[in-house]
């Protein structure tokens, strides 16, 4: 994977030497394991079922264009299992697109490649069967939700993968699946359960064909006080930690949250994706990026420390998401009071 910024040899060596010293100094004064400040907001797209915006390293006072900014949005669509492409139990599709403004030096073909690389990493991790939410079913073996997660990279100043997964996790946690109720087609309008609603001939028969008369034929949206229920594996969505490896020695030093200049100066990056659930910690996915190489023995050590960092990040994100939830409830209440 090519670097997104170009650096001269002397700049690279300046960064590498500074990081490799006994008391390492980074270009912006952070220590090796410091993150830049991360700004996060959920519910940014009102038409999406769940959305989030993440910015890593925004300079205070700057209006836009600084830091790594990513917006993620989840949209749910109905899919037929028998007639459409749908799969029983629902499916997940992730797409990442990079704004040309984020990578002004890349050609459009290189930009497509980059978005494709990011899409693969996000999609392979999140649509893995081990992370499948169970409440994407509408009618078993008939209709299910297709969950599309679209992520846009608005600007990149390094550590874009951590930002991608932070935004993805926040948007998925924010997602509400609309409540549905099965509807039965009954030729003779006998009194049945309260659940069943009679369908008249004028009912929109366009996509929801009523010809397949079986136990449950179709569904309707339940009139519910909230938009719906959260996905049932909320806690398990993974967080990503990128370990930027300085050298391929037996005891590799690494640092977190690299700027794009630092990314261009180092030989190797290790992406680790951890999922924390009550049942335990799972390494969901890992990937090495760059042209350097690493000894297998040092991997276990890196995995261990990566897990620690991921847990801290996970905990901080969890607190922030709760805070966001609270803030939005307060806002909604205030708006309700105004009416």
């Amino acid at each position: 994977m090519s670097a997104t910024v170009s650096l001269s040899k002397s700049e690279k060596s300046y960064i590498r030497t500074a990081l490799g010293e006994l008391s390492p100094i980074r270009a912006d004064g952070r220590s090796l394991l410091d993150y830049r400040s991360i700004a996060l907001e959920t519910g940014v797209a009102s038409l999406a079922n769940g959305s989030a915006r993440v910015n890593i390293g925004k300079t205070a006072g700057e209006e836009s264009g600084s830091g790594t900014e990513v917006i993620a949005a989840v949209k749910l669509e109905v899919e037929g299992v028998l007639e459409g492409e749908g799969v029983d139990g629902g499916r997940l599709m992730c797409t990442v697109s990079c704004s040309p403004a984020a990578y002004p030096h890349l050609s459009s073909a290189a930009l497509d490649d980059l978005s494709y690389d990011m899409t693969i990493i996000l999609n392979q991790c999140l649509s893995h069967p081990s992370l499948h939410p169970k409440n994407l079913v509408i009618i078993p073996k008939r209709r299910s939700w297709l969950l599309t997660l679209d992520v846009i990279v608005l600007s990149d100043s390094g550590n874009v993968y951590d930002a991608l997964f932070l935004a993805a996790r926040s948007a998925l946690c924010d997602t509400k699946v609309p409540k549905t109720r099965s509807v039965q087609y009954q030729p003779k309008s006998n009194a049945l359960g309260e659940q069943d609603v009679e369908m008249s001939a004028e009912a929109p028969a366009s996509i929801f064909s009523t010809k397949e008369v079986k136990s449950t034929a179709d569904f309707e949206l339940a009139d519910y006080w909230d938009e719906g229920e959260p996905l049932d594996i909320n806690q398990e969505w993974p967080v990503c930690v990128t370990l930027n490896l300085l050298s391929a020695k037996s005891l590799p030093t690494y640092f977190l949250d690299a700027t794009s200049q630092e990314e261009a100066a180092i030989p190797l990056r290790l992406l680790l994706l951890f999922s924390f659930s009550p049942s335990g910690t799972r390494l969901q996915s890992m990937r090495l990026m760059g042209d350097g190489e690493i000894q297998l023995e040092s991997m276990t050590q890196l995995l261990e420390s990566g897990e620690n960092h991921a847990r801290k990040l996970f905990q901080a994100l969890k607190n922030k998401l709760q805070e966001e939830d609270f803030r939005r409830n307060q806002k909604a209440l205030a708006r309700f009071d105004l009416r």
Partner: protein, 320 residues
């Protein structure tokens, strides 16, 4: 250490009253122009900021220049910027824009492409600048002429990604600028790091080579690229006696000690903070900001925090 913050609230919408441009004003302006054409600063050119869509003057009396358009006999600004007037031509110079070069400007650029006998240089301008092989100083003396072997080993001088400081020499017919480094003060950059700011924040100074007393040298490129590097001793400066010709195109950094690196990082962060609050940069302001940071004992990484930024801007930004 991970800290999550929230996005700042969008500014509360303020009531917008369009600036008055009545027929009376128009008449006044016309009279003004005819009476004192020499100092006719009748619409505050250069001091007032325009908004896109803001009426400036009548199209009967003035010609529209860059950054304006005409709607219903009124010259209207199409960008946010300052009004400039040359005789009857009214134009608006945008605040946020790419670098508009002028001959003689000192710029810092990065090589993007190596072509036969020339380099393409990214200079934050609309088009890449051109640096010809014939307009650089070849090692071995000012008098040395370009040889065929130089053309074949063009990457020995500059290669892709290299940073250089140069001067705008001239413009080609299509508006591309041509650079030169035919002075020993120009050339390849090393021992430091680059900061990018909006070009409008760099003032024209007597010298764009600034030495701060904290052992840091600055090159303030007029295109908004600033090179922050370790201080090089006066007699080892390019162009002085102690210079060896080979080191002009060297990629090797000198040994830089920790305090100097810290100072470089501090200056870099200060520039970023000042730029994010749109404070024009000069050596005086930078020095003041640096002293403020030392006096208040601010850690380098804390400089970008909101409260520290604001305290800094309050003390330094107002003095500019």
């Amino acid at each position: 250490m991970v800290t999550f913050t929230s996005f700042p609230n969008p500014k509360d919408s303020f009531s917008y009253a369009p600036p008055k441009f009545s027929t009376e004003d128009k008449n006044d302006m016309d009279i003004d122009v005819y009476e004192d054409d020499d100092d006719g600063e009748d619409f505050d050119s250069g001091t007032k900021l325009t908004c896109p869509g803001e009426p400036i003057t009548s199209s009967h009396a003035y010609m529209r220049g860059h950054g304006t358009f005409i709607d219903q006999e009124t010259v209207i600004s199409s960008v946010a910027g300052t009004i400039e007037r040359v005789n009857k031509l009214v134009s608006v110079r945008a605040i946020r824009t790419r670098y508009n070069a002028e001959v003689g400007d000192l710029i810092v650029g990065r090589i993007t492409e190596v072509q036969p006998r020339r380099w393409k240089v990214d200079a934050n301008s609309r088009q890449d600048a051109v640096l010809m092989l014939s307009s650089i100083n070849l090692p071995g003396g000012v008098q040395r002429r370009k040889l065929e072997s130089d053309e074949l080993q063009i990457r020995q001088f500059f290669e892709e990604g290299d940073l250089l400081v140069a001067e705008v020499q001239s413009f080609f017919a299509d508006g591309t600028m041509s650079l030169h480094t035919r002075s020993l003060t120009y050339g390849k950059l090393r021992n430091g790091q680059l900061v990018c700011v909006p070009p409008i924040l760099i003032r024209r100074l007597k010298s764009h080579f600034v030495s701060l007393p904290c052992n840091v040298d600055l090159i303030l490129g007029l295109n908004g690229y600033i090179w922050v590097s370790k201080h090089i001793n006066q007699n080892r400066r390019p162009g002085e006696e102690g210079l060896d010709a080979e080191s002009v195109y060297s990629n090797q950094n000198e040994a830089i000690d920790a305090p100097t690196r810290m100072a470089i990082s501090r200056v870099t962060n200060l520039i970023k903070v000042l730029a994010s609050h749109f404070v024009p940069l000069s050596d005086v302001i930078l020095l003041e900001a640096y002293e403020w940071a030392i006096e208040n004992d601010v850690e380098v990484k804390d400089l970008t925090q909101t409260d520290v930024c604001e305290a800094l801007i309050l003390t330094v930004g107002t003095k500019g």
